[in-house]
Symmetry: C2
Subunit: 218 residues, 2 copies
């Protein structure tokens, strides 16, 4: 076994190296994009320029991000939303929907690295109001997923007030928690704040749809 | 006094005619815009084409609407938001802020004509997802006004959870009420639904900021 074999064992190593290189490329693209967004503005920056700045081909950019919007709220946005959708689908069928939403949101709380990424993006948004639209669309997507989940679990239409209220309360709590937390420099607990605000907003919302016992299982 | 003087009394008449013509031009621009948005899509329609379709100059378009977005949610959006801002400012200083928001929203409920206009726009949005962004920005603007009002009245920062929750709850109630009402073909009472949902969302939100007696005046 050579020294090279020691640091790069057969089978695993190639994947490890490839995986590491992928992460580096993704991080380089994110850094390049945020640098250009801050310098030139989000609207004025093209995918070509981001790829160029990160020294990769445009084709490579699109292997990592579906669009310019995805690189902006990428990892901490779309990816988390995908996880949320899966976690909701996997939640026990006998859990009241509001309880399921609360549990899943709690389980998906962000680690310190992700919180740092969010802070950078929120600050960029403060300086560039055109990014607000991207942030609002992400919240809209999150709300839609929650509304559809609650509708599905209760048998109500996604246009029924109950699913709409649960989804709306969750996103409002999330948005308000982010604003307050970011204004405080991200020093307090984002998760605790979000939980508190969600509890306040749902205290008056029925735990179940009108025609089933509130908060009772099944 | 001639027949012409009878139908057009001196002083008032010129204004009446001018005012009527202005309303006609505004309505023609709105009709033209909605027709083009439905046919070609919102993004693909230019202000030039809207002006052309309404048979007026581009300059004239901008006398009535600040942007293409304004013509979309014009009268029932930006104008109402302006009125809301004024009504909030005029609300008694000793009214708890949550109460002031509730009273002002109740007083601004929309008449049948405005509700019809909203229905047309919501249906257009269902078919053209790109319009969702415009709608979200309008909600964002509404939320900001409410948050700033509550912050101002309570002496809290606009990034404090309390103003953020009140503004968020009002917009969530409004958005959920619109969705449910529009899905039902606009046959139920939009105002009653919005009131009910706002009450549900604010039942668990303090009526006053943390350091003043909840719901007490002053």
């Amino acid at each position: 076994m050579t020294a090279s074999d020691l640091s790069v064992p057969p089978g695993v190593p190639a994947v490890g190296r490839r995986e590491r290189r992928k992460r580096e490329t993704r991080a380089a693209l994110e850094r390049a994009a945020l640098r250009l967004f801050a310098e030139k503005g989000y609207e004025q920056t093209t995918v070509e320029e981001i790829a160029d700045e990160a020294d990769v081909a445009v084709r490579t950019f699109f292997r990592y991000f579906a669009s310019k919007q995805h690189v902006l709220f990428g990892d901490v946005g779309h990816q988390r939303i995908g996880e949320l959708r899966a976690a909701l689908a996997a939640s026990p069928a006998d859990l009241p929907p509001l309880e399921a939403v609360r549990t899943v949101l709690d389980a998906l709380d962000l680690d310190r690295d992700e919180q740092e990424q969010i802070l950078v993006r929120l600050r960029l948004m403060d300086r560039q109001p055109s990014l607000v639209g991207v942030y609002l669309m992400l919240n809209h997507e999150l709300r839609q997923i929650l509304v559809e989940f609650v509708a599905d679990r209760t048998g109500l239409a996604p246009t029924d007030p109950y699913p709409l209220l649960v989804g709306g309360a969750a996103v409002t709590a999330w948005d308000a928690a982010l604003s307050a937390w970011s204004a405080g420099g991200g020093t307090t607990s984002l998760a605790a704040l979000r939980r508190e605000l969600f509890a306040a907003l749902t205290a008056g919302v029925l735990a179940g749809p009108p025609d089933r016992p509130p908060d009772g299982p099944g």
